[in-house]
């Protein structure tokens, strides 16, 4: 529709995509502060416990904020605002799905995880099983999850930074990689935690201010905002649309979102940074409060953007609607506020990628290097050195993969990460904590079944087979967009059947002993 586009181009003038003084200033301030913190943290990061778990010195409130900072990615901030702006109510359904994993995390595994684990979730899966095979399998599941999540973040961040600051894609990738490596390499978990806390505070306050300004334009009457949206785009904008057309697909996606959280290595690792199970518990309450609040106000920002700026303009600048929130910020607060929001989005990307890199490095160094290669007999110094080497390797890989996948449609990769997390990591973790008869063979087969089914089924699903690989519509061999309902169930069933066929007396005996640690925290690290 050329006329609409021309009209839209006249309707708004934006500095989006050009580096402005405020955006660069805010960006430099954030980088300066976080680098100072990294310098401070580097003096407190010598032992393995400090590198992986910030010396277990993080308070429940701090960890709650850091969990929120680790979880609320640029994809959810910019993506959900854009989805609500362009598609209306369907974006809200999506927002709800991102919260519901948190209560499940609390009820099922937060406390036992903290009591049983040391540095990685594989510590818990392997606690009473044979170390080598379980560590290798857990590391495969963990690293695959983190890898796909990282690719999605890196590709998304390159294009977002290009859209907001006008930097070339490759330069943006390298900048994210270098700054993030600075945090993780020198400041370990302590610096990563504070980067995540700062990002969470900035993001929550930035979006709150944006929401308040939007509401002030409608005299703080939500009804007026929705009436304005309905007036421009029809009542359909406020009704469920095509997102849930197939209930089985919707339930499958819901399972992946809910239980995927319980298998995200970078989120699980955060629970080892608090002093005890009680702090772990309270930190989930804080985290779910912050995240719930965020997902309640983000749709208001999205609806506000569609009412005040218009869908045509938003879609014209970015087809996916990702620039809805920044455009709205500029519309209501001018260039300085846009600069602030752009810098916050950048900080968001850095914090999430730093958390992912630390999780991947921990899986390499703690699970593979220390427990598989050195059979648990590495010195503190060797372990920290290995984790730093792994950090650099993973950081370089993240940048290279980001550049390699430039321009590719990687939206499905976050879904894939959640599918692997809920199919490979979550079943083994839960069975290991709660089921006495779980065996080494059961754990390994459950993890591998979940990982390979999740990847395989996504490849032959409409999302990849048709949308990414370009095969004709209807040719996908697997009908569901998200495989969780099949792959997660299969992982549980295989883990259960194989465990029943094998018997591991020492593991069963240890299950009784570990109960003291699981439930009372006796002997917990």
């Amino acid at each position: 529709m050329p006329p609409a586009t021309e009209q839209a181009a006249v309707a708004i003038q934006t500095t989006l995509g050009k580096p402005t003084v405020p955006s660069i200033a805010f960006f430099l301030i954030i980088v300066a502060i976080t680098m100072l913190i990294t310098y401070w943290a580097s003096k407190r990061t010598r032992s393995a416990k400090e590198f992986y778990a910030a010396g277990r010195s993080i308070s429940a409130f701090q960890n709650g904020l850091a969990l929120a900072g680790d979880y609320m990615s640029a994809a959810s901030f910019l993506g959900i605002a854009g989805m609500v702006a362009l598609k209306g109510y369907d974006g809200m359904i999506y927002a709800v799905g991102w919260l519901v994993g948190w209560p499940a995390l609390m009820f099922l595994i937060a406390e036992p995880l903290r009591n049983l684990g040391k540095f990685t979730f594989a510590d818990v899966v392997a606690y009473r099983l044979k170390q080598t095979p379980v560590r290798i399998a857990s590391a495969v599941g963990g690293i695959l999850t983190v890898l796909f999540y990282t690719i999605a973040q890196m590709v998304g961040s390159g294009s977002l930074i290009k859209l907001m600051f006008g930097l070339p894609y490759e330069v943006a990738e390298i900048m994210v990689g270098v700054i993030m490596l600075g945090y993780v390499l020198f400041g370990g978990m302590l610096a990563t935690t504070w980067v995540q806390i700062i990002k969470a505070v900035l993001l929550l306050s930035g979006v709150s201010v944006l929401m308040l300004i939007v509401m002030s334009k409608f005299n703080f009457d939500p009804g007026a905002l929705y009436t304005a949206v309905a007036g421009q785009y029809g009542q359909a904008a406020l009704e469920p649309g095509g997102l849930i057309s197939n209930p089985i697909d919707a339930v499958s996606l819901g399972l992946a979102l809910m239980f995927g959280l319980l298998g995200l290595p970078h989120i699980l690792q955060r629970f080892f940074t608090v002093p005890n199970a009680k702090a772990a518990r309270v930190s989930v309450l804080y985290a779910s409060g912050f995240i719930g609040y965020f997902y309640i106000i983000i749709p208001i920002v999205g609806f506000g953007a569609s009412a005040l700026i218009g869908r045509e303009v938003i879609a014209q600048i970015d087809k996916g609607g990702n620039m809805a929130a920044p455009l709205l910020a500029e519309f209501v607060g001018g260039t300085p506020f846009l600069g602030f929001i752009a810098a916050v989005a950048f900080a968001t990307i850095l914090a999430v990628v730093a958390g992912l890199t630390l999780a991947a490095a921990s899986a390499f160094s703690h699970d593979i290097y220390v427990h598989v290669i050195k059979h648990g007999k590495a010195t503190e110094k060797e372990e920290v050195r290995a984790s730093r080497i792994a950090t650099v390797i993973f950081g370089v890989f993240a940048v290279l993969l980001g550049i390699l996948f430039k321009g590719q449609n990687v939206a499905f990769m976050v879904g894939l990460a959640f599918a692997i997390a809920c199919s490979a990591n979550f079943p083994a973790l839960t069975l290991s904590i709660f089921w006495k008869r779980f065996t080494t063979a059961g754990a390994v087969s459950s993890i591998l079944t979940g990982a390979f089914l999740a990847v395989g089924l996504i490849i032959i699903s409409p999302t990849v087979w048709e949308d990414v690989l370009g095969n004709p519509k209807g040719s996908a061999l697997f009908a569901l967009k998200n495989p969780a309902i099949v792959s997660m169930t299969a992982s549980f069933v295989v883990g259960w059947l194989v465990s029943l066929m094998t018997r591991e007396k020492p593991a069963e005996q240890m299950f009784e002993d570990e109960k003291l640690r699981t439930y009372l925290g006796v002997g917990a690290e």
Binding site: Y89, M92, I93, A95, V96, G97, L99, V100, W102, P103, A104, M106, F107, L108, E111, P222, G223, Y226, T227, V229, A230, G231, Q235, L238, E239, P240, I244, S245, N246, P247, A250, V251, G254, M258, K278, R281, V282, V284, L285, S288, G289, G292, Y295, I296, P299, E512, D513, K515, L516, Y519, L520, G521, V522
Partner: protein, 101 residues
Amino acid sequence: MAKKTVQNVLDSAQFKALVTKRAKVSTLLMIMLFVLYYGFVLLIGFNKPFMAQKIGESVTLGIPLAVAVIILAWLLTLTYVVWANAIYDPEVEKLRGQLFD
């Protein structure tokens, strides 16, 4: 600390009751979470007109329901924390006390 004491605590009715109680509370809350979230998703899947009905000038029922799912899910989390702080933790302290004196 003698191994027997550990075994005594593990075998005690009090410890077993605590483990069962925790399982019951988390299962119950988990079921409530499932009903809440999948109820919402399936309601959209099977009864769009219900979600699309207007409850104001243009606000649809689906909008406050989505917000309610988030708030209720958080309240379930809060319920667990209140229960664990008020009931679970004191019992844990009691059992730990038996172990170390």
